[in-house]
């Protein structure tokens, strides 16, 4: 009946089922993260795994680690500096090095990782409230190129971690997420309406109007949301603000 159900012998679906059971029983986010960390080892054969968040002002919080020894935790802490995890957060996409011996991008991190016995590393983004805030980091003790399938599985596990954090018992986070969801919707509607107002006022195409709103936003330092709001409540005059000349 359901085509998506895989056989119970597949380690990936076993892992997913286990994490799901935790989600279903409404365990807190950290319990779910610990299960995700274990699953990374079981499914993706990483020698060590760490889930962490990085504060742009410089703080690293290790949420979960497969290896609690100081050396590994220090290596995770070092991810607050230049390294795959920061790059993965910046680009909100997977960043990896299949062979650290040939790695040029992050000499300090690479040195530490190799000294700790790791030869390959991958970071998958952990996204919360509209942006990547951390990463699921996989460390390997041999060079390894992850297949597309493995990368997809790793990202699915990272997404489950996000889901775990989202349904955290912490109601404040849920409320904040709900507010941000609704604020995004409101902003989208306002930006669309502002695009229409500018397009009609200047007699230009909506796409061009959208570009002028975005250009004014980056020129003025106002967020797109603020610019749109000012246009729709008519405190910004499209002619003088967005017109030619």
């Amino acid at each position: 009946m359901l085509s998506g159900v895989s056989t119970p012998t597949d380690p990936f679906s076993d892992a997913v089922a286990g994490i799901t059971a935790l989600l279903a029983a409404r365990h807190d986010g950290l319990t779910v993260l610990a299960a995700v960390t274990r699953a990374c080892g079981a499914v993706l054969d990483s020698a060590a795994t760490g889930v962490l968040t990085v504060d742009p002002r410089g703080g690293v919080s290790v949420l979960s680690a497969s290896d609690e020894r100081a050396r590994f935790l220090e290596l995770l802490q070092a991810q607050g500096g230049p390294g795959p995890c920061l790059d993965c957060i910046d680009g909100n996409s997977v960043v990896g090095s299949a062979d650290l011996a040939a790695e040029q991008r992050w000499p300090e991190f690479t040195g530490r990782a190799r000294a700790a016995g790791y030869q390959a590393v991958y970071a998958f983004p952990l996204t919360l409230i509209d942006r990547a805030v951390g990463g699921v980091n996989l460390f390997y003790d041999h060079p390894v190129e992850l297949s597309t399938r493995q990368a997809r599985q790793a990202q699915a596990l990272a997404d489950l971690a996000t889901l775990g954090l989202t349904q955290e018992r912490d109601q404040r986070r849920v409320v904040r997420l709900a507010e941000s969801t609704l604020a995004t919707l409101n902003d989208r509607v306002h930006v669309g309406q502002a695009v229409g107002v500018v397009a009609a006022t200047l007699g230009i195409e909506p796409d061009a109007a959208r570009e002028r709103l975005a250009a004014y936003s980056s020129r003025s330092g106002l967020s797109l949301r603020e610019v749109a709001q000012a246009v729709t409540d008519r405190t910004l005059d499209p002619h003088t603000t967005f017109g030619d000349a």
Binding site: V16, T20, I129, D130, V174, L177, R188, G192, A194, A200
Partner: protein, 230 residues
Amino acid sequence: MDDRRRERLWRLVSERAPAGSGWAGVVCAVAVAEAGVDGAAITVRTDSRVQDLAAATGGWVAVLEELQYTVGEGPGVEAFTNGTPVLVGDLDADGDRWPGLLDSALAAGAAAIFAFPLQAGAIRIGTLDLYRRRPGDLAADELADAALLAEMATTALLADSAGAPAGGPEAAGFYDDVNIATGMLATELQVSLEDALLRLRAHAFSHQLPLTEVARAVVLRQLRFDAPPE
């Protein structure tokens, strides 16, 4: 009992782990597979004027959601406003509460509609609407599944919003053209945005056209409205 049900549904959802389409779409797909309905949609809304379609299992379901948006009434709107499920097992017999919706919804293929509010803490963020092509109430276990799926839909919406780096105001929404057309019309007719949206909806309703199609025609400047009399 509920926990086992919840676990089974969560498992079904996770096994379809989103391949880019988002958790909301997965919850809708599981609803159709499990809750004995033919279509499911999740709409995120703040009121009848500000909403977007987060997921729908098919074109006909999107049409039905759009109809409720056009006329501003229906089970989804009512479930959101009152904060309680609205279960209509036979739309033909019981749908006269929503005179604007009834005929077009039946014509679009809906015979039964079940709408559930999505509640995140104290905040209501949208609805899960389930549709059947044939009349009939939800059986007890289908209703239990549906209620749990509404709870999961809330988590799904929040996770999608949290996990979407491109999900800011710049991202494309289902009703983008409606928003742009509203701004254009308000400017051209020198009316408020609310009035402009009302004109769009009224035009769609009276001409039996999808709201997004009317909006598209305005955006492409193929359709013009007369200014209101002074």
